[in-house]
C-alpha cells in the first residue's frame, strides 16, 4: 500500500508492506519495522526503537491521533485534492470558508461584482465572516438564502467571469 497522508497539512509519502514478523513502513526515505496492534481506540505502535501508546479515532474523512503529548490530524491526500477540486472548476464558484449561518446575501443574479466585493455574510458563534469575489464577474446563481446553515466548502455563489 502506498499513499500520501497529510499530517497536520504536511504531505508524507507512506508505503506499508507486510513483513515476516510485522510490518515494514516507509515514510519518505526512512524505514520503520515493527508492529501496530490495537485495542479499540488504543493503538500500540512499536516501530523502530520507540513504543507509542496512541489514541486513534476516525471522524469523517480524518483520523485523529494523540501520541506523546501531541495531537495529529491526518487525512489522505487524495481526499484533500478531491475536496479542493470542487472549489476550482471553470466558473468561479465562491464557497463557504467555515461552517455557519447565512446572515446576509449581498448580491443577486445578474449583478456585476468587482474582485473583493462582498457576496455573502456568514456567522458562526460570535464571529462574522464575509465571502467575497476573488475576481470580477456577473453573478449567475446564488445557492443560499438568509438563515441557511452551510458547511465548509459548500457552494454559495457562482460567477460568470466574462
Amino acid at each position: 500500500m502506498s499513499v500520501i497522508v497529510l499530517v497536520d497539512g504536511e504531505p508524507l509519502a507512506v508505503t506499508i508492506a507486510h513483513g515476516a514478523d510485522g510490518l515494514v513502513g516507509r515514510v519518505g526515505d526512512v524505514e520503520y519495522r515493527g508492529t501496530i496492534r490495537r485495542d479499540g481506540e488504543t493503538w500500540r505502535i512499536e516501530l523502530g526503537e520507540r513504543v507509542l501508546l496512541a489514541t486513534v479515532v476516525r471522524a469523517a474523512d480524518a483520523v485523529w491521533i494523540a501520541a506523546d503529548g501531541e495531537i495529529y490530524r491526518c487525512v489522505l491526500a487524495a481526499e484533500e485534492r478531491a475536496a479542493a477540486g470542487t472549489a476550482r472548476v471553470a466558473t468561479p464558484r465562491v464557497t463557504a470558508p467555515m461552517p455557519g449561518k447565512v446572515l446576509e446575501v449581498v448580491v443577486a443574479p445578474g449583478q456585476r461584482v468587482a474582485a473583493g466585493d462582498p457576496l455573502v455574510v456568514l456567522e458562526a458563534m460570535k464571529m462574522e465572516t464575509v465571502a467575497s469575489a476573488e475576481s470580477a464577474g456577473v453573478v449567475t446563481r446564488v445557492h443560499v438564502s438568509v438563515g441557511a446553515m452551510v458547511e465548509p466548502g459548500q457552494l454559495l455563489v457562482e460567477l460568470d467571469p466574462s
Binding site: 500500500m1 499513499v3 497522508v5 499530517v7 497536520d8 504536511e10 507512506v14 506499508i16 508492506a17 507486510h18 513483513g19 514478523d21 510490518l23 513502513g25 515514510v27 519518505g28 526512512v30 520503520y32 508492529t35 501496530i36 496492534r37 490495537r38 485495542d39 479499540g40 500500540r44 505502535i45 516501530l47 523502530g48 520507540r50 507509542l52 496512541a54 489514541t55 486513534v56 479515532v57 476516525r58 471522524a59 469523517a60 483520523v63 485523529w64 491521533i65 494523540a66 501520541a67 506523546d68 503529548g69 501531541e70 495531537i71 495529529y72 490530524r73 491526518c74 487525512v75 470558508p97 467555515m98 461552517p99 455557519g100 449561518k101 458562526a124 458563534m125 460570535k126 464571529m127 446553515m149
Partner: protein
C-alpha cells in the same frame, strides 16, 4: 430574607456545570435549562432537574426571558442564576425575575443598567473620582480645537468617531503637525461608515495591560475586593489567558486600583460579585474601562488564590447573608487558559465537529471546568469556548509550568482547538518574563503555525492504516474483535479494501 432553595441556571456549557456544583455543595437544588441542541449536554446530566426551553438558536432559548421564567416556575425554583453572557447583564431580565417573585442571583437591576450604559458610566465614574481615559467630547473638525484638547490630554492621542466602533474612523496622532490630516481622514471615514461625521479625541494608551479587580458586596452595605486579575492576552478583544496577581501590579498600585474599584462599585450601590476593568499604561497609570455586573469567565483564578467559592458566596449573599469574609489574603499565583474550538493558524476560524475523545487534566493545583463530554457536538450556535483549565502555584513560574503540563495532558480529538497555541503562548519568553499587554498576540503570534509533531512519521504509518481500513472506528468490528482471545489485534498483516497491503 429571600429563600434560595432551588436555583434555575439560565445558562449552558461550563458555567452551568460550575454553578450546579456549588449549588449541590450548599444543598440547593440545581435546575438546568437546555435548548434542543443541548438535550444530552453535561449540565443537563449533572442537574437535579432540567427543563427544555426551545430550539437551538439562543434567542429562542437561552435568551427567551418568558421561557426561562416559565421554566423556573414549572420546576419549583425560587431563584435564578444567569451565569455570564446571555442575559447576565440584562437589567430587564433581572427585573422580570424579581417581578415573578424569584430571587435574581446578581446585582440590583439599577446597578446593571447604570454600568450597561458605557457613556453614562464613564461620566458617573468621573464624578466618583475613578480615573477614566482623558477625552475631549465631540469637537468641531478643525486643527485648533483638537490641538487645544490634545494639549490637555497629552500625546499620543487617538481621534475616534462618536458613532464609532470596530476601529473605523480611528487615527492615532503623535504630534500636533499631524492633526489636520488625521482630522480630515477620521471625519471622512466616520461619515462613510456611520453616516455621522462627529469625531472626538482621547489619550492613546500604547500597549496597555488589561487589569481588573474582583469586587463583592452584600446587602448589609459591606463591599470588598478580592484582588486583581490580569487578562492582557487577548485575540479579537477576547481574553484567552488570565492570571492573578498581575506581574505588573506593585503593592502600592494594588492599593490604589482596588480602592478605585470599590469606589466604582459603591457608586452604583453594588451587591454580589462584580468586576471593575481597568487599562494600565506603561507608566503605572490606570483608567476605568467598564464594570461587568456579573461573574466573570476567569473567576477561578481568584478562587485559587483566595480560597473563596465565588458562586457559593453569590448564593449566600442572595439569601441576605453577610459576606463570609471581611478581607482576603491572596496566596500564591494562579493562571487560566481558555480552550476554544477554533483554528489559530486560520485567523481563529471557529471549528465544529464531534468530541470523540476527551481527556481532562488533573493533579495537584490543576482544575478543569468543562461543558463538554465524549459525544458532544460542537456546533455553530454558541460561544466556541469549550473549557477552562486553571492552575495554582506558590509562584508564577510554578503555576506556569503546571499549566504547560496540564495543557499537554488535555486531549480533545474530533474538533480543532487552540490547545497548542496556548502552549506556545505560555512558553514564550515575553510571557515567561511577565511582559504582557493587550497587543501581545498581535506582536508575537501573528504568523503562528503549529510546529510539526516529533512523532509524525510513526503517526503517519498508523494513520495510513486507519484511513485505508473500513474497520477503524466501526463499533461492530470492534465488538467482534473484542470477542477474540487477544486484547490487542495485530495489524501487521493489514488488508485494506480487499487489496493486499
Amino acid at each position: 430574607m429571600p429563600s434560595v432553595t432551588a436555583v434555575l441556571i439560565a445558562n449552558r456549557g461550563e458555567i452551568a456545570v460550575r454553578i450546579i456544583r456549588s449549588c449541590r455543595a450548599l444543598g440547593v437544588r440545581a435546575v438546568a435549562v437546555y435548548s434542543e441542541a443541548d438535550a444530552d449536554a453535561p449540565h443537563v446530566r449533572l442537574a437535579d432537574a432540567a427543563v427544555a426551553i426551545g430550539p437551538a438558536p439562543a434567542r429562542a432559548s437561552y435568551l427567551d426571558v418568558a421561557a426561562l421564567i416559565a421554566a423556573a416556575r414549572a420546576s419549583g425554583a425560587d431563584a435564578v442564576h444567569p451565569g455570564y453572557g446571555f442575559l447576565s447583564e440584562n437589567a430587564a431580565f433581572a427585573r422580570a425575575v424579581a417581578d415573578a417573585g424569584l430571587t435574581f442571583i446578581g446585582p440590583p437591576p439599577a446597578a446593571i443598567a447604570a454600568m450597561g450604559d458605557k457613556v453614562a458610566a464613564r461620566t458617573m465614574m468621573e464624578r466618583a473620582g475613578v480615573p477614566v481615559v482623558p477625552a475631549s467630547g465631540v469637537l468641531p473638525p478643525d486643527a485648533g480645537a483638537f490641538a487645544s484638547a490634545a494639549a490637555v490630554t497629552g500625546y499620543p492621542v487617538v481621534i475616534k468617531a462618536a458613532a464609532g466602533g470596530g476601529g473605523k474612523g480611528m487615527r492615532i496622532v503623535r504630534e500636533a503637525t499631524a492633526l489636520p490630516d488625521a482630522i480630515r481622514a477620521a471625519a471622512r471615514e466616520a461619515t462613510a461608515a456611520f453616516a455621522d461625521g462627529r469625531i472626538y479625541l482621547e489619550r492613546y494608551l500604547e500597549r496597555p495591560r488589561h487589569v481588573e479587580v474582583q469586587v463583592f458586596g452584600d446587602t448589609h452595605g459591606r463591599l470588598v475586593h478580592l484582588g486583581e486579575r490580569e487578562c492582557s492576552i487577548q485575540r479579537r478583544h477576547q481574553k484567552i489567558v488570565e492570571e492573578t496577581p498581575s506581574p505588573a501590579v506593585t503593592p502600592e498600585l494594588r492599593a490604589a486600583m482596588t480602592e478605585a474599584a470599590v469606589r466604582a462599585a459603591r457608586a452604583v450601590d453594588y451587591v454580589g460579585a462584580g468586576t471593575v476593568e481597568f487599562l494600565l499604561d506603561q507608566h503605572g497609570r490606570f483608567y476605568f474601562l467598564e464594570m461587568n455586573t456579573r461573574l466573570q469567565v476567569e473567576h477561578p483564578v481568584t478562587e485559587w488564590t483566595t480560597g473563596v467559592d465565588l458562586v457559593r458566596e453569590q448564593i449566600l449573599v442572595a439569601r441576605g447573608a453577610p459576606l463570609s469574609f471581611a478581607t482576603v489574603t491572596p496566596r500564591g499565583h494562579a493562571l487560566e487558559c481558555r480552550l476554544y474550538a477554533e483554528d489559530p493558524a486560520r485567523q481563529f476560524l471557529p471549528a465544529t465537529g464531534i468530541v470523540h475523545v476527551l481527556v481532562e487534566p488533573a493533579g495537584a493545583g490543576v482544575r478543569f471546568d468543562g461543558g463538554i463530554a465524549r459525544g458532544s457536538v460542537v456546533g455553530v450556535e454558541y460561544d466556541p469556548m469549550l473549557a477552562k483549565i486553571s492552575t495554582w502555584g506558590a509562584t508564577r513560574e510554578e503555576a506556569r509550568t503546571r499549566m504547560l503540563a496540564a495543557l499537554r495532558e488535555t486531549v480533545l480529538l474530533g474538533v480543532v482547538t487552540n490547545r497548542d497555541y496556548l502552549r506556545a503562548v505560555l512558553a514564550h519568553p515575553a510571557f515567561v518574563a511577565g511582559a504582557t499587554h493587550t497587543e501581545f498576540l498581535a506582536a508575537h503570534f501573528a504568523d503562528w503555525r503549529p510546529g510539526p509533531g516529533a512523532e509524525r512519521a510513526r503517526v503517519a504509518i498508523a494513520a495510513a492504516l486507519a484511513l485505508t481500513s473500513r474497520a477503524v472506528g466501526d463499533s461492530e468490528s470492534d465488538g467482534a474483535r473484542r470477542a477474540a482471545a487477544s486484547p490487542f489485534a495485530t495489524l501487521g498483516g493489514w488488508r485494506s479494501g480487499g487489496t493486499a497491503a
